[in-house]
């Protein structure tokens, strides 16, 4: 989706540039500009065709395959087996529900953590550019380390017998004989943590541009700080909220690292990604894995379009 959006932007941008230059030599220039734009678009279009469209078609085709008559494991034939979709939807309903539930929770938590953070960096320390850059680096710095490494580190930090878990047990967040790793809470925690920069950065970019004079105008017009936030700051930062939540929700719904048994999850926390992984690599049930992937994609697409419509920021799509 991001790629599609990018190419759309390029096309729009270049045609705009043309129309400006074309105002003098009318039609001829316009034509020429269109040709140039077309040529410039070719690499992008080729790239999309090769690495986005082809696999997508391949995926859909695989999702419709039926088992080979021989019954051999991993052998399938071309077909139009729509039943696969119904099968996976029923078989994996729990994991599907879990995926979107976790994604929803982690996105909310990431938003609640990132908004004040982005507000602090983008608005509060605005007057000191050096401090602003430093705090921004501090926010992003942990993410220079590999995603997997950090997740494993959390597993270590929170595993049974670790001092951190001891603290959590002592303050009563985790029962004394309990564990944390392998629980849904641990997975949501990991998802939230890992996707915070994708929430913070878009929020930061909109809040950084927030016009302080509008805040003052709100206060001048009798709005108390809470009203100023809900009536002015928040609505003006909606583009950042929408892109931040999209950038976290979409990858989280498809994530399979945090929820896997090797990291923060257990078999009780499996998400769609883990099922795709299992069907594809262990069970060699390629049609199911593909059908589940297509289902995930379609669901995200529908949810996202409803969300973006609702948020009133169609220009983002």
């Amino acid at each position: 989706m991001a790629i599609a959006g990018f190419s759309g932007g390029t096309a729009k941008g270049s045609s705009k540039r043309n129309s400006k230059g074309a105002s003098k030599s009318a039609l001829k220039g316009d034509r020429k500009g269109a040709i140039v734009a077309g040529i410039l678009l070719i690499p992008g279009l080729l790239y999309l065709a090769l690495f986005f469209l082809t696999p997508l078609v391949q995926l859909v085709v695989t999702a419709l395959e039926s088992p080979d008559a021989s019954g051999a494991i991993g052998a399938y034939v071309y077909d139009f087996n729509v039943q696969n979709f119904a099968d996976v939807a029923v078989k994996y309903s729990l994991q599907i529900f879990r995926s979107f539930g976790y994604a929803f929770l982690a996105t909310i938590f990431a938003l609640l953590i990132s908004y004040p953070l982005a507000y602090f960096v983008g608005v509060k320390v605005r007057r000191w550019p050096l401090l602003q850059r430093m705090t921004l680096v501090l926010v992003i710095a942990p993410f220079f380390i590999s995603f997997l490494l950090r997740t494993v580190a959390w597993k270590q930090l929170l595993s049974v017998g670790s001092p951190l878990l001891g603290v959590l047990q002592n303050i009563g967040l985790v029962p004394h004989d309990g564990y944390f790793i392998g629980t849904p809470a641990a997975v949501v925690f990991g998802l939230t943590y890992n996707f915070i920069p994708f929430m913070t950065l878009p929020l930061f970019t909109t809040l950084e541009r927030l016009d302080g004079r509008l805040i003052e105008a709100g206060a001048d017009l009798y709005a108390n700080p809470f009203k100023v936030f809900t009536k002015i700051t928040l609505p003006l930062s909606m583009p950042g909220v929408v892109s931040g939540t999209l950038l976290t929700f979409i990858p989280i719904a498809g994530d399979y690292v945090n929820a896997s048994r090797d990291f923060l999850g257990s078999s009780d926390t499996s998400m769609i990604g883990n099922m795709v992984d299992q069907d594809f690599l262990s069970n060699q049930n390629y049609p199911y894995a593909s059908a589940l992937s297509v289902l995930l994609m379609a669901t995200i697409l529908i949810l996202v379009s409803i969300y973006v419509r609702r948020a009133g920021t169609e220009e983002l799509l």
Partner: protein, 387 residues
């Protein structure tokens, strides 16, 4: 004078008080320091209820900072702010019955024009905010644009929305920060008339900040001239023009001819100074200083010139002869620049009514002006240091 606002039946304990008529503003000993820079020094100001008060000064003299202190957007380093007799120095902006028309308008881009105007009313939970906002838009003749976004409006229209958004709240005091600065001359004159009419109609206290002396003189009941964070002089526009007390005011508010010399004689009625052999007299009542080195000024339109030496007469200051070095025809009046040896250059405005002598560049002339038109300043113009 200060009625609890009528639009809201109940008056909550912490709700903002607003009056249907204006309240008096008093600034006492205000000082504002920014890191490494003092923007306002020992500023005292008193504005009567219902008055149109103009704060006039060059760019960077601290006008916006003063308004921001009154609005509560800036905390003074020291000093107190009183509104309607009540000390509001420590109250938050949203608790003050003060509204601002910002220099940048600061309209909310995510709201329609109507919602912008209704914003303050809604915050105070006033009844029928939309109807009142419509009325305010009608007052500034923008009813037809109520559903537009501010970005879709011209500068002049945005300015009027900003005005409506502030006025609709009927604040005790309306602060206007160079609201006409972005408009072209014609629209500006038109808006000045409208603004003055609105002020009379709604009866609010207006504190209008501008760097345009004509605008200030035109609209205000009282003008305060501000320079480098201080108020140099305050008074009715005519009084300020007739008797400026400092060199800055005499130059910033209209034009002035200034003569610097030593006082040679002071009696009950007049002070005389010696200007390299020329004597200039100013009434004692119009002189801020009566000893030492002082600057005496006169407005260019109060000066006449003559082709032959006029006879000395009581009540007249005569200088010359000098040479006409520049003539400008500005339509209704001609502007002559006359260079007088030892005295300096003198500007003379003569109305084009056929009474002034017809002179050529380089002609030899004398200038005269009535003693009663001269004024003695408290300070000396920049560049003529005390010795």
């Amino acid at each position: 004078m200060e009625r609890r606002y009528q639009w809201c039946g109940i008056t909550l304990a912490n709700s903002v008080k607003a009056s249907s008529s204006g309240a008096a503003l008093e600034l006492v000993n205000i000082r504002k320091e920014f890191p490494g820079f003092t923007a306002i020094e020992d500023l005292d100001l008193k504005i009567n209820a219902g008055e149109f008060f103009a704060l006039l000064g060059p760019s960077g003299c601290g006008k916006t900072t003063t308004l921001r202190i009154v609005a509560g957007l800036e905390t003074p380093t020291s000093g107190r702010v009183f509104l309607g007799g009540e000390d509001i120095t420590d109250t938050k902006p949203h608790q003050r019955a003060v509204n601002t028309v910002f220099q940048s308008y600061a309209l909310f881009p995510h709201m329609t024009v109507l919602d912008n105007v209704a914003f303050g009313l809604r915050q105070r939970k006033v009844d029928e905010p939309l109807k009142k906002a419509q009325d305010a838009l009608a007052l500034v003749e923008l009813s037809h644009l109520a559903d537009r976004r501010p970005q879709q409006l011209s500068g002049g229209q945005q300015q009027r929305v900003a005005l409506a958004r502030a006025i609709v709240n009927r604040p005790s005091l309306l602060l206007l920060d160079e609201p006409l600065g972005a408009l072209d001359l014609k629209l500006r004159r038109q808006m000045q008339i409208e603004l003055k009419a609105i002020q009379i109609e709604v009866g609010l206290t207006f504190l209008h900040v501008t760097h345009d002396q004509e605008e200030a003189m035109d609209m205000a009941d009282t003008v305060a001239v501000m320079n480098k964070g201080r108020i140099e002089q305050m008074g009715a526009p005519e009084a300020l023009y007739d008797r400026p007390k400092t060199a800055f005011v005499s130059k910033f508010l209209g034009q002035s001819n200034l003569f610097v010399g030593d006082v040679v004689e002071t009696n009950d009625s007049a002070v005389s100074i010696n200007l390299h052999g020329n004597k200039i007299t100013v009434p004692v009542a119009r002189a801020e200083k009566t000893a030492g080195k002082i600057a005496v000024g006169v407005r260019p339109e109060k000066v006449q010139f003559h082709e032959s030496a006029p006879a000395a007469a009581a009540g007249q200051n005569i200088l010359g002869p000098g040479e006409i070095i520049d003539i400008r025809f500005t339509g209704v009046s001609n502007q002559y620049l006359i260079e007088i040896p030892q005295v300096g250059s003198v500007t003379v405005f003569a109305q084009n009514v056929g009474k002034s002598p017809v002179v050529e560049l380089g002609a030899q002339v004398w200038v005269s002006f009535k003693v009663e038109h001269a004024f003695g300043l408290a300070d000396l113009p920049v560049g003529t240091e005390e010795d």
